[in-house]
Symmetry: C2
């Protein structure tokens, strides 16, 4: 089947599901997927083993193979995910802001599915299930395309997904998999803008930039997280140290961890020795500006300008002394990646100014950047975090996988 | 100045305006623009005359020259637009859905500007003012690029816009104009995705497709309006005729006018003779399916399949008899352009099914498709109508020119 044909079939399945896809049916399908995964643990392990063996032969890294593995814990995680998504409120059909207009008709907005969503991701087979169930619960059809090293695992998972759809008389093409391992197949998918309505790439920056370059379809993406914390002159120093350490070391390899620490010069003398010592106690490498090194010099490397743009994703931090809130905001809007930033302050005006002027997806007061997360924000499961500014910004849950339509209820109303 | 430099300067102006752009200041600037237009009526007329004379020499059509003309009425319209936009509620800073999370911190969303918006449009100089003031009021910077036949008019208008900004100590690059008439300059603008955040093209389908093809920046667009009305078997026939005639003839050249009329076969005998006679009385050409022609044959041309995809923008209508609501919905989702559709029915279940399953930007019950309009929906001024599914769908007002950021207020909260 060509990519065009696959997109056509998926689009047709979407159209049918517009009519068929009640909340009850969607939740029943989710339970059937959970059961399908549960009954096929052995089959999944066998298929996954093929990928793992091929990967080992091909010399893939241990970390890569770890992400590829469908062990018992990951399979249970996928089963749990299906049941958790079944518990989430269905956003489709929700009517917002319905009002009577002066002319006597009613106008409002109804949440509705986006349509056909293409998900392009790496060799992490659990994403196959998580992406498919979130798209389906929000009434969308999906075309999945995972990394080719997970081919056998993804084929097995797709079989389970499609069997569950068939069991409920739903067109199995609602959850399609682009099985060609030819890279050109992805390029071809990205130009089907009459059939596919959104592309969500998940992976490294190179993959994402290449998708944006080639796609005629709108793309929702996550480039990187260069998160900043600014310690204001009116901050509680103990709190500032505690939040800084948490944001840097609690899980350094993820996008919402801290990369650059800014501090007001009038509090730097008191804050930096405590904070940098605490970071070093946790094994963090410090790259400081000249003022930082003048205050605390022990094992502090000199920071370069490039360090302030860098997403270290590791136990490394850049530290800079600034002359106040205005410079901090300017610095963050210039060097940051508009992901998540936090101010530590007890001053209400400074907090308000930071919230208003920092131009990022998540802006915080007295909180660790690690709290930037769909689950913690109350979205339930998360399809990803957007660093885009349109449609969805920051963590994306079920509602961010929908759009709206205007609904108008008249009683013979015409345009005069 | 290169396109890159222009984009950089506009982006810098945007950053400064994040801090500076209070509602009060924005409204004062709008009043200064209105005054600037009012004081410069003669200057505008002179500059516009250059464009009109060049256009006449180049053999442009009367309709083209009419759209290009800045007559007294159009100038007054621009002045009024500035003052109307000043009256609209400023969406920036509005906080939505603020809640305490179980962990004890607060999370909500704050409306914020999108950033730098590029507007590409045809030789209609009044769009220069309307687009600029809507973008500015919503806190955005804008790069304008109008049709080259309006060059002198647009330079004059840009001068007035920038003088008003300077008067209030705002960086005049907040409202920039891409003055190179080289088409390559537009292509270059479309790849500055680190500096420009949104492109809104306004014009013919060819222009828009070319922008989508070349742009690395997200595009919000309006392709076309192939609007449908379905007359259900439970409809009030007088109402159905009145709405049909209004939707087709009240202003046939615009996107929300009716193009295809569908009727349930069980009511076609009663409805079609009345409706088609009434349309013909207004000078409408009828293109009917075989069943339509069997019921009413007088001057009814045979419809081809292409007619159902066609945006006539003229006194022409396609008419088709269908075997019920399901076929009507399927037909609309297949042939329509997902702009605006209406069902005429007295049956609540049919109305609900139509609202749920028709996959268009505006879906109506017992109303003329001509009501699909930002002003009538209560949005105030309208930057355009989107046929996209992401970010904004249907009429776009000030709020659709904003995005949101997540705000988190903690009290020392960290990730455990």
């Amino acid at each position: 089947m060509s990519v065009r044909e696959l997109a056509e079939k998926t689009n047709q399945a979407y159209q049918k599901f517009l009519k068929q896809g009640s909340t009850k049916l969607k939740n029943e399908i989710l339970e059937s997927i959970a059961e399908g995964l549960d009954c096929n643990r052995e089959f999944l392990a066998e298929e996954n083993k093929k990928d793992l063996e091929n990967g080992a032969k091909a010399g893939l890294s241990t970390a890569f193979l770890d992400r590829l593995a469908l062990n018992e814990k990951r399979i249970q995680g996928m089963i749990d995910a299906c049941r958790e998504v079944a518990q989430l409120v269905d956003p489709v059909g929700k009517i917002e802001n319905m009002v009577f207009r002066p002319e006597g008709f009613k106008v409002g907005r109804m949440r509705s599915p986006i349509g056909v969503i293409g998900i392009i991701y790496e060799a992490r087979p659990n994403v196959t299930i998580e992406a498919a169930v979130l798209c389906m619960k929000s009434g969308n059809a999906v075309i999945l395309r995972g990394g080719s090293n997970a081919f056998h695992s993804n084929m097995a998972l797709t079989k389970i997904l499609q069997e569950a759809l068939k069991k409920h008389d739903v067109d199995p093409n609602l959850i399609s998999y682009l099985s060609s391992t030819d890279r050109k197949a992805v390029d071809e998918m990205l130009v089907q803008d009459d059939l596919i309505h959104l592309i969500i790439p998940r992976g490294g920056e190179g993959l994402i930039r290449s998708v944006v370059e080639k796609s005629k379809i709108p793309v929702l993406k996550h480039y990187k997280g260069v998160c900043n914390i600014f310690v204001d002159k009116y901050s509680d120093i103990d709190m500032a140290v505690r939040i800084t350490v948490n944001a840097k070391v609690q899980r350094p390899a993820v996008c919402n961890s801290l990369e650059t620490l800014l501090v007001d010069e009038s509090i730097a003398d008191q804050f930096l020795p405590n904070a940098l010592q605490a970071l070093q106690d946790e094994g963090v490498e410090i790259r400081g500006c000249e003022q930082t090194r003048a205050i605390y010099s022990k094992d502090v490397i000199s920071a370069t300008e490039d360090d302030y743009y860098e997403e270290f994703l590791d136990l490394i931090i850049a530290v800079k002394v600034v002359d106040g809130l205005d410079e901090a905001i300017h610095f963050i809007n210039m060097y940051g990646s508009a992901h998540t930033e936090s101010i530590i302050t007890q001053d209400v005006s400074h907090a308000q100014q930071f919230l208003k002027e920092v131009d990022s997806a998540s802006v915080m007061v007295n909180a660790s950047t690690r709290l930037s997360d769909g689950g913690l924000y109350g979205l339930g499961a998360e399809i990803g975090i957007s660093t885009d500014r349109l449609h969805a910004r920051g963590p994306m849950g079920l509602e961010e996988l929908t759009t709206y339509k205007w609904i108008v209820i008249g009683d013979g109303h015409i345009r005069e």
